[in-house]
């Protein structure tokens, strides 16, 4: 008997628009021919503001020059949570596309009424609405009589891809001219009227408590306005930045600290991670219909160290009190989330706090942006209503901000007599990868843990798998192995502060999966690309692998001292597809000569922006793989400068070629984190190709290569 066909599911609003349905929150027309677009996502150096402007201009049929992009603020912007996870195009982009399409329709209805013509006979060109008989009006003329203080409704259909004039094109970014002309655009470069400068005193030893603070020395420093102390939180406010730094130096001399809390052995992270108390979760389980017989098991362990965000700018914020209300300027990734945590610390209703975004330097995850905002708020309490600016030192940025979490990953693969994988077990030991503000009943901000009446130190957690997971991100294979068991052990102690860094656990898991696969393929004598293609079912996955293979002319002829490696991942298993081929050169010391990548982000709104993100991700990942490791002894973080925490330099940067597979009819996804995992594993696999050794502990340094060679010999 035939089942009745299921009713078509009713149209739904994009998620950000459903959460913020009022159309006027997203866009406003001026009578002077401009439209103000207010996304809840923020520019963190990724070019998002331009891509969102393209989407809005396209849907409204206006010239890009009429679009004025408004910085997010809790005073007026839609609440889109945090700008992270490569979700801005997906969330803000879809919401804006829908909102603008609906607003266009609302204006057309109004125009049809006013002009007395049928709505379907109307056309829009650069905001001018015209119809038969040369009748015309415009958004700007109608702006006063059309209210957008109404909720968006589902069912509006945005333009089809082929009718978009801007999306899909490499429009020049709107923020770049200011930046190359040296105009003040960063929060660091803003000066508010009457602004004072603050500095916070922090201990060298991890979590040491301030036991005594003698203030006589600092009181003598010129320009001092106030000394602030609340428990172990202490700082100064001065008339100038220079005076504040001098005061801080004097304050440091008068401070005594407790010993602090011990740190793990930096040279044995895997043992440390595995020995800690943890919360274990089964991430995914697949059972074979007819299990094969294992003749052999390959077991490998991979590690990655703690990694610093290491923005070129130290974090900065400004705050100004007016009675019991405070205004905060920040480069945080989430103005509403920061506000929620500030409210917890200050014990104030959120309505008393306004948090406004200003651009900072490149942000690669949860760095010190939120911490410094609370520092500024606390110091500004002593400033009699004057604004206070706080900028962390390089040393503070490299030691007190959260790090990307260290990971130990074990994979066991059972092979049958033919060397085919018949079972797969993947286990992760790591601290959580997220301790962002605004998501818990307790605040996540550093100074909150230091107050006389302190909040408990937050232990990082992992986002659920439905949101891409945390330490377990990208741990479920996309390959068609018959059975698997994936488990994650999240540490419940946290001697070293961790939170979100680009890809969360994705980089570590892709490194592990793609390394062991390469090893199994090599043992079988099978080409690693053929091996992957044979185990993939998703055509988009296969397409990026085929594209990168063609582009890099896989496999180039073997030359002494040169190696090639390939790797693939789909970020979060739901986002961008990316395949990478690395070409490396060297013996004990290696250099990456070239990276070739192919990527599929669905509809690429700004293809050059996508290439820029993939290129940047690939180069940053190369830096992580070859150089980066947060250093510490048993008391304190020791990699507090660029000398002790080196990153890739111009002369060490590989050539990078990126091919974007444009799929205009597919939903767009973000590009910022797609390259890190594949590039990491491709480099490691290229090292094996060149040198015949597998380095399974990141970073791949001279010492690690020598150690791997000794193990092999």
């Amino acid at each position: 008997m035939n089942q009745p066909a299921p009713a078509p599911s009713p149209p739904v609003l994009p998620v950000s628009l459903a959460a913020n349905p009022k159309l006027s929150a997203w866009l406003k027309f001026s009578s002077t021919g401009q439209v103000a677009i207010s996304p809840g996502k923020v520019e963190i150096g990724q070019g998002i503001v331009t891509a969102l402007a393209q989407i809005a201009a396209d849907e409204l049929d206006i010239d890009l020059s009429r679009v004025q992009m408004i910085r997010a603020s809790t005073a007026a912007s839609p609440n889109e949570g945090v700008t992270s996870g490569s979700l801005s195009i997906q969330q803000s982009g879809r919401a804006l596309r829908h909102a603008c399409a609906e607003v266009r329709r609302i204006f057309l209805q109004q125009a049809a009424e006013r002009l007395g013509v049928d709505i379907d006979a109307l056309d829009v060109e650069d905001g001018t609405i015209s119809g038969p008989g040369n009748v015309r009006t415009s958004y700007w003329e109608l702006a006063e009589e059309v209210s957008l203080d109404r909720d968006a409704t589902p069912g509006t259909t945005p333009k089809i891809a082929s009718r978009r004039a801007l999306a899909g094109n490499s429009i020049q970014r709107l923020d770049i001219p200011d930046k190359v002309l040296g105009r003040p655009r960063f929060i660091h470069d803003q000066a508010l009227a009457g602004m004072l400068h603050g500095c916070v005193l922090r201990p060298e030893n991890a979590r040491a408590k301030l036991t005594e603070l003698k203030e006589d020395g600092v009181r003598a420093v010129a320009g001092l306005v106030a000394v602030v102390r609340d428990g172990s939180f202490a700082g100064v406010v001065s008339e100038t930045e220079h005076a504040a730094e001098a005061a801080l130096n004097a304050l440091r001399k008068g401070a005594s600290w407790s010993d602090g809390e011990p740190l793990p052995d930096e040279n044995d992270l895997a043992s440390f991670l595995k020995a800690q108390p943890s919360e274990s979760t089964t991430i995914d389980k697949k059972t074979a219909a007819s299990p094969g017989t294992a003749t052999r098991t390959i077991r490998r362990q991979y590690t990655r160290p703690y990694i610093a965000h290491a923005s070129i700018a130290p974090s900065c914020a400004m705050a100004q009190w007016d009675g019991d209300r405070v205004h905060v300027w920040t480069h945080s990734q989430g103005v509403y989330l920061l506000r929620a945590d500030l409210a917890l610390v200050l014990r104030l209703p959120v309505e008393n706090i306004t948090v406004e975004h200003m651009e900072g330097a490149g942000c690669y995850g949860h760095n010190a942006a939120d911490d410094v905002a609370l520092d500024a708020v606390l110091l500004a309490k002593a400033a009699n209503g004057r604004p206070v600016r706080v900028q962390w030192s390089r040393q503070g940025e490299m030691s007190d901000a959260p790090f990307g979490a260290a990971m130990a990953i074990e994979i066991e693969a059972d092979l049958d007599a033919q060397g085919e994988i018949i079972d797969w077990r993947h286990s992760i030991w790591s601290n959580g990868h997220a301790a962002r503000p605004g998501r818990a009943a307790q605040p996540a901000l550093l100074a909150g843990f230091e107050l006389a009446d302190p909040f408990p130190r937050m232990i990082s957690t992992n986002p659920p798998q439905a949101n891409g997971g945390g330490g377990d991100r990208n741990s479920v294979p996309l390959y068609d192995f018959p059975s698997w068991h994936i488990e994650s052990h999240r540490l419940t102690t946290m001697p070293i502060r961790t939170s979100a860094l680009r890809t969360l656990g994705g980089q570590g898991n892709v490194f592990a999966i793609e390394s062991i696969l390469d090893e199994i393929a090599a043992e079988r004598g099978e080409d690693p690309i053929a091996f992957r293609l044979r185990h993939l079912r998703d055509e988009r996955a296969k397409d990026v692998i085929r594209a990168v293979a063609a582009r890099a002319k896989w496999k180039p002829e073997k030359q002494p001292g040169i190696g090639h490696g390939v790797a693939f991942a789909r970020y979060k298993n739901t986002g961008a597809y990316c395949a990478a081929i690395a070409e490396i050169e060297g013996a004990e010391e290696i250099s990456v000569r070239k990276l070739t990548l192919a990527v599929d982000v669905g509809e690429a709104i700004n293809p050059d922006g996508v290439i820029n993100q993939i290129e940047g991700g690939a180069i940053q990942a190369t830096s992580w793989v070859l150089k980066e490791r947060v250093r510490f002894d048993r008391q304190r973080i020791t990699s507090t400068s660029w000398t002790e925490y080196p990153i890739l330099r111009f002369s060490e940067v590989p050539d990078v070629e990126v091919e974007v597979i444009q799929r205009s009819d597919m939903d767009p996804v973000g590009a910022g984190e797609a390259a890190h995992g594949p590039v990491t594993a491709a480099i490691a696999n290229a090292v094996f190709d060149a040198l015949g050794v597998r380095v399974r502990d990141l970073p791949i340094t001279r010492d690690r290569i020598i150690a791997a060679m000794e193990l092999t010999s």
Binding site: F186, P314, Q620, R649
Partner: protein, 156 residues
């Protein structure tokens, strides 16, 4: 307070300040010139690079006294929106940055290079920028932009 005289972006200037203070501190603080950026305070990242007598130098570890009588050029003196320097035009054309915080220092290193060597190779550009750090991974675009500016300048 002692005073130090030097030329800043072509104009004679006299600064009353402790001569041991850093040039960057004076530029950004006292003079409100925020193009050179603070990155590390130790001359390790190049975000604050300025040109002093034809050489790109980090302003954060350059004491004020050392520029007495010299020519100092900051990003603000490189070009304007009406008359951008070829390097600035090329950085826009190549979309040669992501966050752009390091770029004012990088432009100064590149400008000093092109003055000394108007037609550098890609390797020479990389060498000249090797003391400038970029965290977003825009290096290759920046190198392309410098080469493009060099070509444009050669063509007049």
């Amino acid at each position: 307070m002692p005073s130090v005289r030097f030329r800043l972006n072509g104009a004679e200037i006299e600064v009353d300040a402790d001569p041991d203070r850093s040039l960057l501190d004076i530029l950004r603080g006292q003079l409100g010139m925020t193009g050179p950026h603070f990155g590390c305070g130790a001359g390790e990242c190049g975000a604050c690079n300025v040109i002093i007598s034809d050489r790109a130098v980090s302003a954060c570890d350059t004491p004020l006294w050392s520029v007495a009588g010299k020519d100092v050029t900051t990003i603000e003196g490189l070009g304007t929106s009406e008359r951008p320097h070829p390097l600035q035009r090329a950085f826009i054309a190549e979309q040669a940055l992501q966050c752009g915080y390091c770029v004012s220092g990088i432009l100064m290193s590149a400008a000093a290079l092109l003055k000394k060597n108007p037609s550098p190779t890609s390797r020479e550009v990389k060498e000249a920028l090797d003391r400038n750090l970029c965290r977003c991974g825009s290096h290759n675009r920046m190198v392309r932009a410098v080469l493009r500016a060099a070509e444009e300048m050669a063509a007049g």
